[in-house]
């Protein structure tokens, strides 16, 4: 494997992690806002 593809292989994982983090954070804050609007505890 060339250095280019090895570099891509190493650096693709933090990109995926960033995507997952954004997804989780979005879902969390949406639930938090919903709970806030309803005046109920989130958990």
């Amino acid at each position: 494997m060339t250095p280019f593809w090895l570099t891509a292989y190493v650096l693709m994982w933090p990109v995926i992690v960033a995507g997952v983090l954004a997804f989780i954070a979005r879902a969390f804050f949406k639930e938090w806002l919903d709970a806030h609007r309803r005046g109920e505890p989130m958990i």
Partner: protein, 588 residues
């Protein structure tokens, strides 16, 4: 500060100047004392604040164990991801990358991630059968009886105490390596911090703080991986260090990596995912329609995080770095200490603290739930007192923390103990899964099959039986059956019994020509596969002779809420069946 550690006899020659440590001829950047304290106060202070905000003067016993069975996707996905990622898995993935080369992290992280995915169909079935249960062992009590329940509960107590110990050790080692504080001071601070924010609100605090911890952890991973990679030379390291790798280490299809890392890990993590109460607890807590997206998100989040950290081991291999004191567990902290300044080192420090705290609080919640629901709540005919349950849960957390501190201080060999728990759970996987689908499985079949599997596992795993000649071949045949069982179980949840049988048979037949005469050389893999095979064959054979069937609809009524009086009226009216009638299983 400068520290010089000698190799021989454990003696340490310590020299301190500024904020650097020199250990085993490796110059390490360290966090200063005030910065370390500040980071710990920031981390545990924030989690404590969250815990205080959700605390109630009068906690509900069921919410203390499952947070009301209705948590949303953001919290549940964060919690499942944070719980499955622990400090040891980060270190182990990097080790796998360093030892087995470019395919190493895949053979650690990918299989661990996929197992979360493979168990989600089982999770949906378990939740459908027991919508308001608290522990898997509690469901086994309703399905079978006390012996099955105690086997599962006992293995979980052992597993969670070991996991707790392992996380304290990881925290102590990190603090002693990257700060001026000692290992003992480190484990006490970590244990105290985790206990403080988990003690009052239990599982509710555990899952909500998991969100903050997963943000800190994943956020740090996004920064730490590229930062270390480019600090080590970036793409040039793959050119300059290519000669440091063997042909196996440069191959994506390394048989060494698969046989020594991937294959034993597939068998082990399937058992961990099914048997572990920390996962089951989140399964019972999440809103039922969100089980699938929760598990898929956790699969991707865990996989990318752990494989990504494992890549640092691969880069270290290319760069020709030798782990400090020859200990591969030092590799990741060593890279951070070598290449990072105080800011990035602080980010790295929070990443590891987040990973171990999130798993440690889950272990405490799991232990307390087992003691509350299985040891006290479902024992005998008398009605459980929710107030006393809460006291038991909190006392369990304190005692478990004390025990884990003791074991961590004694530096017990955690890996050996984990192998033991993995084997127990491996022996439990088929009987547990079959108990949720097959009405013929009996308490006797469950118990005998697990004990038989363990009785054969130990001699194989620890080499008490000479594997020369025909004996080795016989055990290889059994292990090949185990391959079929694992493949079949992974298929069954998604596609049902018939495809599972076909896949199981094809997998066993496919592996047989290569595995027979060979598998017994790999004791860890062979032992795990044999545990699967024996428990499956014995459980199936004994259950086939059972002429009566179990009515699964009974389970929901036997695993309801304990603390119904304390539930809000609206919630109580919508709650699924509360504990009713006799708590004694009616069918064995």
């Amino acid at each position: 500060m400068r520290l010089r550690a000698g190799r021989a006899g454990g003696s340490q020659d310590v020299e301190e100047t500024g904020a650097q440590a020199r250990v085993d001829d490796v110059q390490l950047q360290q966090l200063g004392g005030p910065l370390t304290v500040g980071l710990l106060v920031l981390f545990f202070g924030l989690t404590m604040l969250i815990s205080l905000r959700i605390s109630r003067r009068k906690e509900n016993a069921d919410a203390y164990m499952t947070a009301g069975n209705g948590i949303g996707l953001g919290v549940s996905a964060a919690s499942m991801t944070a719980t499955w990622i622990w400090a040891a898995s980060m270190y182990a993935s990097a080790t796998s990358g360093y030892v087995y080369g470019i395919s190493g992290p895949i053979h650690y992280g990918l299989w661990g991630a996929l197992m979360i995915l493979f168990i989600y169909p089982y999770g949906r079935r378990i939740r459908a059968v027991a919508p308001r249960a608290h522990t898997l062992a509690e469901v086994m009590y309703a399905r079978h009886g006390r012996s099955s329940q105690l086997m599962l509960a006992g293995s979980n107590v052992l597993g969670s105490v070991i996991s707790l110990t392992s996380n304290f050790i990881a925290g102590g080692a990190l603090i002693s390596m990257l700060s001026p504080f000692s290992f003992s001071q480190g484990i006490v601070v970590i244990a105290g911090g985790v206990l403080l924010y988990t003690l009052w609100s239990g599982f509710r605090a555990s899952v909500l703080t998991d969100f903050i911890q997963v943000c800190a952890m994943l956020g740090a991973v996004v920064v730490v991986i590229p930062a270390i990679f480019f600090a080590m030379g970036g793409p040039a390291v793959f050119v300059e260090g290519a000669s440091n790798l063997t042909p196996q280490q440069t191959s994506f299809f390394s048989s060494d990596a698969f046989l020594n890392q991937g294959a034993p890990y597939i068998a082990a993590v399937l058992a961990y995912a099914i048997g572990n109460q920390t996962i089951a607890q989140r399964l019972f807590a999440v809103r039922e329609d969100l089980i699938k997206p929760t598990f898929i998100t956790a699969t991707i989040g865990y996989g990318a995080t752990i494989i990504g950290i494992g890549m640092l081991g691969v880069v270290a291999l290319y760069a020709g770095i030798n782990p400090m004191e020859g200990d591969l567990n030092n590799l990741i902290p060593q890279l951070a200490g070598t290449y990072f300044g105080p800011v990035l080192l602080s980010v790295f420090f929070i990443m590891i603290i987040g990973s171990l705290a999130s798993t440690a609080d889950s272990d405490l919640s799991a232990l307390s739930s087992i003691m509350m629901a299985d040891i006290y709540g479902r024992a005998g005919k008398r009605k459980a007192d929710p107030r006393l349950m809460l006291t038991i849960g909190r006392a369990t957390m304190v005692i478990a923390t004390g025990a884990a501190l003791y074991f961590a201080g004694a530096r017990m060999n955690i890996l050996d103990l984990l192998v033991l728990v993995g084997a127990i759970w491996g022996a439990l996987v088929f009987p547990v899964i079959a108990s949720f689908y097959w009405e013929k499985v009996t308490n006797k079949a469950f118990t005998v099959s697990v004990l038989a599997a363990l009785a054969i596992f130990f001699p194989v795993r620890f080499g008490w039986i000479p594997m020369d000649g025909a004996v080795g071949y016989v055990f290889d045949v059994v292990a090949v059956v185990g391959v079929g069982v694992v493949a079949g179980l992974m298929t069954f949840g998604f596609f049902g019994a018939r495809p599972a049988r076909i896949v199981g048979v094809v997998a066993a037949l496919g592996v047989a020509p290569f595995g027979i005469g060979f598998l017994h050389d790999y004791a860890v893999l062979s032992g795990s596969l044999i545990a699967y095979a024996v428990s499956t064959v014995v459980c199936t054979a004994m259950s086939l002779s059972n002429r009566t069937g179990f009515d699964f609809s009974r389970i929901a009524g036997m695993t309801g809420d304990f603390d119904v009086e304390a539930v809000e009226p609206a919630a109580a009216s919508t709650a699924a069946p509360a504990r009713s009638g006799s708590q004694i299983p009616q069918t064995r």
